[in-house]
Symmetry: C2
Subunit: 365 residues, 2 copies
C-alpha cells in the first residue's frame, strides 16, 4: 500500500516529501538534520529518504522526531557533482537521486528535494517525470530577497538550459506567475523581462518577440506585464517575476550571491577594526542578526524545477541544516498549494487559446 | 596653438581632459564640482569643458581652482538619455558630446569624460575616434570591488555591444589585461571567462572556442588564463579580469550594484531599529564609513571604452561630485600610462602572430 492510498484512511493530513540524502557536498548528515528541523515545525510532514541504509539507519534513528515519520529506501549509488547528466540518465538507476524522483513519479511522495548535481537532477526529472504538456523547456526558479511586499521576487530560468527562444521566455513568464501566485500568494503578479535597458529598441531579437507575446497574453494569463527590466530591478519592487534565459539568470544569481557574501565579509571586518567598533557590534547584535536573516541565502535555499509533472526542489550543494530545512519547507508549500496541477492548467489554457488564435488567423488568411 | 603643442614649452607637466558638461541626469553643476575637486588634488590637471557658455561661465567662474585651468567651448545642443545613437551620429555635430570627443581626436586633450547616453557616446566614439587596428568590437570595462589584492577586478564588456563571438571575447581578454596592467598595475593579470560552471563541457559554443583562443595566446599576451569562472568569482580573488559579452556583463553589473544598494538600505534600517542599535551605529560610525567607502559605486565610477584610438571614460548619468571626480581620476591614470598606445601595440602583436600562425597552418595544409 502506498503513502498516497494511506492518506485516504489517515485522520491527520500528511504531506510526504521524498529526499535524496546523497550528492550534497557535506554528505547525508545536514540533510537528516534539516529533515528533523522541518519535522519538528510541521507535524503533517513525512519523509521517504534515499541513500545507503546502514548510514541512514544510524542518522535517522538518532532523531526521535523522525521515528515513524521517515522511511529509508536503500540505494547503492549516488550521483556526484562531476557526473555528466547524460551518463546519469543512462546508468543512474541505482542512485539515490533516481530513487528519490521515482517516489514523485509513482505518487508515493508529493515532492522531491535533492542537494545533488543540478544538471543531472534536471535531466533525470525530464526523463522520469516528463515535461508538462505544452512546455518546451522546463526552468529553474529561485526566490530573490527584494523590496517587494512579500520580501521576495521570483527569477527564472537560473540554469536549467543555457538557451531560450521567445516562446520559451513566454512560457517562463507563465510558470513564474504561477509560482508567484502559489508560492508567494501574490494574486496578480507583475512580470518583467530582463534586458540591458528599458527602452523598446534595446536587446536581442528574441527579447522583442517575447515582449510581444507576454504583452499579448496578459489578460488570459492573469498577470501584469511591466515590460523590460534591468539587473538593478531583480532585488527591486518594480516586478514580482523576472524572466530571462538560463545563462543570464545563472550569472545574475551567482553575481548577486557573491556580492552579498563579499559585503557580509567586509561588514564583519569593519566591526573587528577597533575596540569601539567591537563594542558597537555587541550593541547591534540583534539588529544585525535580523539583517542577516533577511538576506541569508540559506533561508531562500531551493531552486524549483518548473514545467514538470511533479514538484522538484534543488537545494544548494553546500546547504546545511537550515538550508535543507528551507528547501523542504518550500517543497511542502508548493505541494500543498497543488502548484503543479494549477501550472499545468494555466499553460494548457494559454496554449489552447494561442492555438485557436493561430487557427483563426490562418483560416482568415 | 593646441594644448598638445603648448605642452612642449610648458615647464610643469600637464594633463588635459576634455569634459562633456551636459547629458548627465543632474545637469552641469555636479560635473563642474567634480572638475574642481579633481583640480584641487592634481595640479597637473587642465580641462576643456563643453556645453552652454553662459551657464558654464558662471559655474566655472565661481571655482577659483579652475581659473586659468579650464577652457570653455560653447555648444548649442546636448545629447539626451533617450536619443538614439544612430540619430546622434547623423545629426549630433552641435552637441557637447561630439565636441568633447573632438578634442581627443585632434590631440588637444588626452582623454574624454562624459556622463551622457552610453549608446550614443560609444557610437560617436567609434565614428570619430575609430577603432584600433585589428579590433572588431570595442568594449566597456568597469572596475568591480573584489577580494583581489588591488581591491578591484576588471570586467568587460558591460554593454558596448549585446553580441560577442569567440574572437571578440579573445580581444576583450587582451584589452582587459592591458587595462589591468595599466589601470591597476598588475604585472601578470589573471583572466577568467564568465560561464555558468567551471567544467569544460558547460556553456555555449562560442565560449568553448574563446576558451581555446585565450588559452593558446597566454604567453604571447602575457597573462595567466584561469579558465571558466562563475558569477560568484566576479567579486572574488580567483581572477583579475572577467571576460563576457555585453549583455551578460551589463546584467551582472546592474545586479551587483542593485544587490549592494539593497543591503545598504537594509543595514541602515537595521541600525534604526532600536535605541541600542542607534547607539551602536554611533560607535561604529568610522568603521561603517570605511566599509561604505570600500563598496561605494561612486568611487569606482567610470566605464572605460576599450579598443579605440583614444581614452573615453563614461561616468554614471546620476554621478555626483565624488563620482565625476573619480571618473576624471581614472581618465588621468589611463592617459598618463599611455594606455591606449600600449593596448594598440599588444593587439597588433597578437594579431600579427595569429596571422602568421594561420598562414603557417594554411601553407602546411
Amino acid at each position: 500500500m502506498t503513502a498516497k492510498t494511506d492518506k485516504l484512511y489517515d485522520v491527520t493530513p500528511r504531506t510526504v516529501v521524498s529526499i535524496d540524502a546523497m550528492g550534497g557536498d557535506r554528505g547525508p548528515l545536514p540533510i537528516v538534520l534539516g529533515m528533523a528541523a522541518s519535522a519538528k515545525k510541521n507535524p503533517e510532514l513525512h519523509f521517504i529518504v534515499h541513500g545507503p541504509k546502514d548510514e541512514l539507519d544510524i542518522l535517522v534513528g538518532a532523531r526521535k522526531v523522525l521515528i515513524d515519520r521517515c522511511e529509508i529506501r536503500h540505494c547503492d549509488d549516488a550521483v556526484s557533482m562531476t557526473d555528466k547528466p547524460s551518463q546519469v540518465v543512462r546508468n543512474g538507476k541505482s542512485t539515490s537521486m533516481w530513487s528519490a524522483l521515482e517516489c514523485v513519479r509513482n505518487g508515493e511522495a508529493e515532492a522531491c528535494v535533492s542537494c545533488g548535481n543540478t544538471g543531472a537532477l534536471m535531466a533525470l526529472s525530464m526523463i522520469r517525470l516528463r515535461k508538462l504538456p505544452g512546455v518546451n523547456r522546463p526552468a529553474i526558479a529561485v526566490l530573490w530577497p527584494s523590496r517587494s511586499k512579500t520580501g521576495f521576487n521570483v527569477m527564472l530560468d537560473v540554469g536549467a538550459d543555457i538557451k531560450a527562444d521567445s516562446k520559451d521566455l513566454f512560457q517562463y513568464a507563465l510558470m513564474g506567475v504561477s509560482y508567484a501566485r502559489n508560492g508567494l500568494e501574490i494574486p496578480l503578479p507583475r512580470v518583467g523581462l530582463l534586458n540591458v535597458g528599458t527602452e523598446d529598441h534595446k536587446g536581442r531579437a528574441e527579447l522583442h518577440e517575447a515582449h510581444e507575446l507576454i504583452s499579448q497574453y496578459e489578460q488570459l494569463g492573469d498577470y501584469k506585464f511591466v515590460g523590460f527590466v534591468e539587473g538593478g530591478d531583480i532585488p527591486g519592487d518594480k516586478t514580482d517575476v523576472i524572466v530571462t534565459d538560463g545563462f543570464t539568470g545563472n550569472v545574475a544569481l551567482k553575481t548577486g550571491e557573491g556580492t552579498a557574501k563579499l559585503i557580509g565579509e567586509l561588514l564583519r571586518q569593519a566591526f573587528q577594526y577597533s575596540l569601539l567598533s567591537r563594542l558597537a557590534q555587541l550593541l547591534a547584535v540583534s539588529s544585525l542578526q535580523r539583517l542577516r536573516k533577511r538576506i541569508d541565502p540559506r533561508r531562500v535555499n531551493g531552486g524549483v524545477f518548473l514545467g514538470l509533472n511533479g514538484t522538484v526542489v534543488k537545494s544548494h550543494g553546500t546547504a546545511d541544516e537550515t538550508g535543507v530545512s528551507a528547501a523542504i519547507k518550500l517543497a511542502v508549500t508548493l505541494a500543498n498549494s497543488q502548484f503543479s496541477q494549477k501550472l499545468a492548467a494555466r499553460v494548457a489554457s494559454v496554449n489552447t487559446s494561442a492555438h485557436s488564435v493561430e487557427n483563426a488567423a490562418s483560416e482568415a488568411e
